[in-house]
């Protein structure tokens, strides 16, 4: 029976209504496209990390790592002495600016020992070692300006063997000479090929790491138990110094991937949301198709078709559209991934201040197949409910002469139950989010509750708005003369649940727009306000000239006095430029941030230190008191680790464990894990790191920041230093924030596209269902223009009220997300700021979508033949 139903009713219907089928398939295709694109991007990012780790570790099974400022080179011998170690090879890793703000990762290696760990491709088809890449290794070592770059880097920058080029190092700008070219193999594949190799001693000198190494890669001897060896190395390095860890090769990729886990989670959530919107499109289309084919279903039932047969017929209809949509979506998804991958990786790089260059897209047939399967499952699940409704059609309806009189207005008890359930879910979401409770199960359930609650409540909100407007345009109301608008409004209120369902996909798409808008604006405003409060200096001098970040090439502190000599630099107590150092630090398994500060220039006072629980002057005075070893902790540090003012905190420093007194709590958005402020004198002593990340500079009376900026760049620009005015720093921050959220635009557009298709499909189909009524209106004198305006009005009202419902729900969800979920995961206190521009954009976008859909529908009904419409044909 099912075969017969499919052959004679189901599949033929798809052929007879190709527009409807195409629209549904397209909705699924867009959802699948996002799903596939984001999974391909996430997979490519993980592949990037795996490539990075395998390129860097080579044959090594373990790597000894310390803080970003490095650890004493004597530890290399300690590790080598551990029984079972075949080779222990040191490396220094730095990031150097070159050209127009680009960054090159420079590896300082011991060329003669490298062969034990890493391979370097020297020529096509060769697997050569580092010393083979250069013609004469001894000459290479004797010339401290020697550097090896990858062929891809050389080609991109017009470099050849013996080409000179400049890099900004800790000593300022330095000239290097290309003395070897690497094929894109082995280590040369790390960081997307943006790497250079130097001799380790030269690198230490240039990048301020004399006597230090950043990592030791360990190759175990044959037959040695790796677990035992790892334990022995851990004990050996622990005896020699603290703050070091031994990471296995596979753990390194995992740690890197963990860094972007949250980010990838948000992307995956957005893609699932898009698929969900696609499901609504399918559900709507099938529901209207059921209404449209009611007579046909009744005839089939009268002829003996079973309920199960009817159900399967509609579900298979949807599944076929799911397959078609899934295949189109997989193809589109690949293209979308190509389009987005660089933006997403650039955004991740900025957000995590780590070079993530995912230029190679990893797209497998398994991902495409997963996309198609997701499309089919989504379409099938979406069809179940309307298909079940189809099974309720009685065969007796086949005997009826058609609808006589008016269909009853729908006042469904089920709609009330759904509405109450939606409000209940939203309330539960609010309570869970506000409680700050964290548990893996709760973390999964909370956003689902929010989305499900919004889905159930949105139709009610739309109906509420329409009722309000209906009151205004009622016959004897203040806008009673707008008869066509009243008709449009009342048509929509005829079945509020169905109207809400029609606009649901659009509401979800618009909710995504407003939610992302509120999150972005809240972050931007909160962090921007904080920046404005704390970053008061007139100028900032650094090697990169961009935002003050961890991974900039640090500078020698000796450059400070040189800056002081530039005319216009204000000196106080004989000192102008104040250096500060920002580094990452591993603390109890998390990567926190250290900010090592000097006493500030009197002009800016203690603005840097946004102390919230003590008088700031008192706390800062203690921080810089010679007898104190103290820290100021950020609010999120307290949230994550628990230490409060008065407590004592133990940090693993390169000089061994050290206890710090917590002097106060500060607001700081530098790190999602937490930030510690300490005196640079203390940091310098304990971390043995004399470098600074940047200098803050004040302008003397009678000079302008622009003048002094130009003077610094004139004097020190040739040395690679860049001065940035405070106003420029804020502009950079705004640009960075906009870029960080830039990729979300594509997701929002795709979601809106699906919403538009859903609205178009359901409105067109509902017009078909109402064609007799439209014919009657034309018969009693409604002009084509009036009819078109009525349809346009219906679509526009759906768009506007959909937008308003999206604003209400989106702001609610975003607010709780920002205040609670993000606050508990990042520990940041972000003030919720609702951007009026986003509210306007959401409502205007809703209206625009409504108008586009309305115009398309209006064009269709304008050509309606009254005779045919009245006959219902």
């Amino acid at each position: 029976m099912i075969r017969t139903l499919l052959r004679f009713a189901g599949l033929r219907h798809i052929r007879r209504k190709p527009f409807r089928a195409a629209l549904t398939a397209l909705g699924i295709a867009l959802g699948v496209a996002l799903f596939v694109a984001i999974s391909a991007i996430n997979e490519s990012t993980l592949a990037f990390f795996r490539t990075n780790v395998s390129s860097m570790t080579g044959k090594a099974s373990f790597t000894v790592l310390g803080s970003p400022v490095g650890f004493p080179e004597e530890l290399v011998e300690v590790v080598r002495a551990v029984p079972g170690v075949e080779a222990a090879v040191p490396m220094v890793e730095s990031r150097a600016r070159f050209g127009d703000g680009e960054t090159l990762v420079v590896f300082g290696v011991d060329l003669l020992q490298e062969a034990a760990v890493r391979e370097y491709g020297g020529g096509p088809g060769d697997d050569q070692h580092a010393e083979d890449v250069v013609e004469d290794p001894l000459e290479f070592l004797n010339q401290p300006d020697s550097i090896i770059v990858t062929r891809s880097f050389a080609a991109a920058h017009g470099l050849r063997l013996e080409s000179p080029f400049d890099l900004v190092t800790a000593l300022g700008r330095q000239r290097f000479v290309v003395r070897g070219l690497l094929e894109p193999k082995g280590t040369a594949r790390a960081y997307g090929g943006g790497v250079a190799i130097m001799d380790i001693d030269g690198a230490r000198e240039m990048f301020g790491k004399v006597g230090k190494v950043d990592r030791i890669d360990v190759v175990p001897a044959a037959g040695v138990d790796r677990d035992e060896l790892a334990g022995r190395i851990t004990q050996a390095v622990a005896r020699a110094g603290s703050g070091l860890r031994v990471e296995r090769r596979e753990d390194q990729a995992r740690s890197m991937a963990k860094l972007v886990e949250g980010y990838q989670g948000i992307l995956a959530f957005c893609s699932l949301l898009a698929l969900l919107i696609g499901m609504f499109l399918v559900a709507n289309t099938i529901a209207v198709a059921v209404a449209d084919r009611r007579r046909e279903i009744a005839v089939l039932r009268a002829l003996g078709a079973s309920r199960a047969g009817i159900l399967v017929m509609f579900v298979i209809d949807a599944a076929i559209m799911g397959v078609v949509g899934g295949i189109i979506g997989a193809v589109l998804g690949r293209e979308l991934a190509e389009l987005l991958v660089e933006r997403v990786s650039a955004s991740m790089s900025r957000q995590y201040v780590t070079p993530i260059d995912v230029s190679e897209l990893h797209f497998s047939s398994a991902q495409a197949a997963a996309g198609v399967i997701a499309g089919v499952i989504a379409a099938t699940l979406a069809a179940l409910w309307p298909a079940w409704r189809a099974t309720r059609v009685s065969g007796g309806e086949a005997f009826g002469a058609g609808p006589a009189g008016a269909p009853p207005l729908v006042r469904s008890r089920r709609a009330t139950i759904r509405r109450l359930a939606g409000l209940g879910m939203l309330a539960a979401f609010g309570l869970l989010a506000a409680s700050g409770a964290s548990h893996p199960a709760l973390d999964a359930v909370t956003p689902l509750l929010g989305v499900a609650g919004a889905v159930l409540a949105a139709p009610w909100l739309v109906a509420l708005g329409l009722h309000g407007l209906g009151w205004l345009v009622r016959a004897r109301g203040p806008l009673g003369r707008l008869a066509v608008l009243r008709l449009a409004c009342q048509n929509l209120l005829r079945d509020p649940a169905r109207t809400g369902g029609n606009v649901l996909s659009l509401v979800i798409g618009l909710m995504l727009v407003i939610t992302m808008g509120v999150i972005q604006f809240s972050f931007k405003t909160s962090i921007g306000d904080w920046n404005q409060r704390v970053l008061r200096s007139d100028l900032w001098v650094s090697s990169i000239g961009r935002v003050l970040a961890v991974d900039v090439q640090p500078l020698s502190e000796e450059l400070g006095p040189e800056i002081d000599r530039v005319p216009g630099v204000d000196l106080a107590d004989g000192k102008g430029a104040r250096g500060f150092r920002i580094v990452h630090h591993q603390h109890e398994g998390r990567q926190i941030m250290l900010k090592a500060m000097e006493p500030q220039h009197p002009k800016v006072g203690n603005a840097w230190f946004d102390v919230v629980d003590r008088p700031v002057d008192q706390a800062v005075a203690e921080l810089f008191a010679p007898a104190t070893t103290g820290v100021l902790v950020s609010q999120n540090f307290t949230r994550h680790f628990g230490e409060r003012p008065g407590d004592t905190l133990e940090l693993a420093t390169p000089s061994g464990p050290e206890r710090f007194r917590v002097l106060g709590t500060v607001v700081d958005y530098g790190s999602p894990e937490g930030t510690l402020y300490l005196s640079r004198a203390v940091y310098r002593r304990l971390w043995k790191d004399p470098l600074v990340s940047a200098f803050s500079v004040e302008v003397a009376p009678g000079h302008t920041p622009l003048e002094v900026q130009q003077a610094i760049e004139r004097e020190l620009g040739p040395r690679g230093l860049i001065a940035t005015r405070n106003s420029q720093l804020r502009e950079q921050f705004d640009v960075m924030m906009d870029e960080s959220f830039g990729y979300t635009r594509a997701i929002e557009l795709a979601a809106l596209g699906i919403g538009l298709l859903a609205l178009l499909s359901t409105l067109l189909l509902s017009l078909l269902a109402r064609q007799r009524e439209l014919g009657m209106l034309r018969a009693i004198g409604m002009s084509r223009g009036q009819l078109a305006r009525m349809i346009l009005g219906e679509a526009a009202l759906l768009g506007v009220f959909g937008g308003l419902a999206a604003v209400a729900l989106g702001v609610y969800i975003a607010q709780l997300w920002v205040v609670s979920t993000l606050a508990s995961s990042l520990g940041w206190f972000i003030q919720v700021h609702v951007p009026l521009s986003s509210v306007a954009i959401t409502v205007v976008t809703g209206l625009a979508v409504g108008l586009v859909v309305g115009l398309l529908c209006a064009r269709r009904v304008a050509t309606l033949e009254i005779r045919a419409a009245l006959e219902g044909s």
Partner: protein
């Protein structure tokens, strides 16, 4: 005096690769105040004739002059306005808007013509009173019986004081007793207002209430005679 003059009225519809000639050259004249019934078997062209006379469709050949106006020369907008002001329609399936009250449904043609509700409502209320629904004017269609809905539809057809009322099987969805009552009311109301009616019906008892019966068969007039 002739209100309607249809001359050489033809209508052909495409059907697949062929075409079907539904009306094959009708000549009909209807005078002011006449109540005319159009009868005939299925496919005889009754409804098509009504649609052409009502400006709902355009003839393939021939002309329709209504109240002195040549309908075939009208633009769609002018035809819509003409329908609003000069014609009234009563449908077999009532076609009331479910979201509007009985009174609002009655007002609709004049509201579409831009009149204020407050101005139309008294006329609508009076008509509803006339058809016996004064007490139910604020009810919505789903709260009315079939006979009541058709009486609302009749009031709607009369509200613009049209020169011609076209009724397409107005009792087709009513039981015979209700149908007869509704039809009697319809006839009395238009007669006292001096209005002209063309009514398509299959019911001989309904046709008997008319002044004149036009019988169609295969797109041609088979008979055109006064009722006794």
């Amino acid at each position: 005096m002739a209100l309607l003059e249809a001359r050489g009225l033809k209508k052909t519809y495409p059907q697949g690769k062929q075409s079907v000639e539904v009306l094959r050259g009708l000549d009909v004249t209807v005078d002011q105040g006449e109540f005319v019934a159009v009868v005939g078997p299925s496919g005889s062209g009754k409804t098509t004739f009504m649609q052409l006379v009502g400006g709902l469709d355009r003839p393939s050949a021939g002309s329709v002059r209504l109240a002195g106006e040549p309908l075939e020369t009208f633009s769609d907008a002018r035809l819509s306005a003409f329908r609003r002001r000069k014609l009234g329609f009563v449908f077999q399936f009532f076609h009331l808007l479910p979201t509007l009250s009985a009174e609002e449904n009655v007002c609709l043609p004049r509201l579409l013509d831009g009149e204020a509700y407050a101005r139309v409502a008294p006329a609508a209320a009076a008509l509803l009173e006339r058809v016996g629904l004064g007490a139910r004017r604020h009810h919505r269609p789903d709260q009315l019986s079939g006979g009541e809905m058709q009486r609302v539809a009749i009031a709607r057809a009369l509200v613009a004081d049209p020169v011609l009322i076209l009724a397409d099987v107005p009792t087709g969805n009513l039981d015979s007793k209700t149908g007869q009552l509704v039809l009697q009311l319809f006839r009395d109301t238009v007669k006292e207002r001096g209005q002209t009616v063309i009514m398509v019906t299959h019911d001989p008892r309904a046709a008997a209430l008319a002044d004149r019966v036009i019988g169609l068969r295969d797109g041609l007039i088979e008979r055109d005679e006064p009722t006794s």
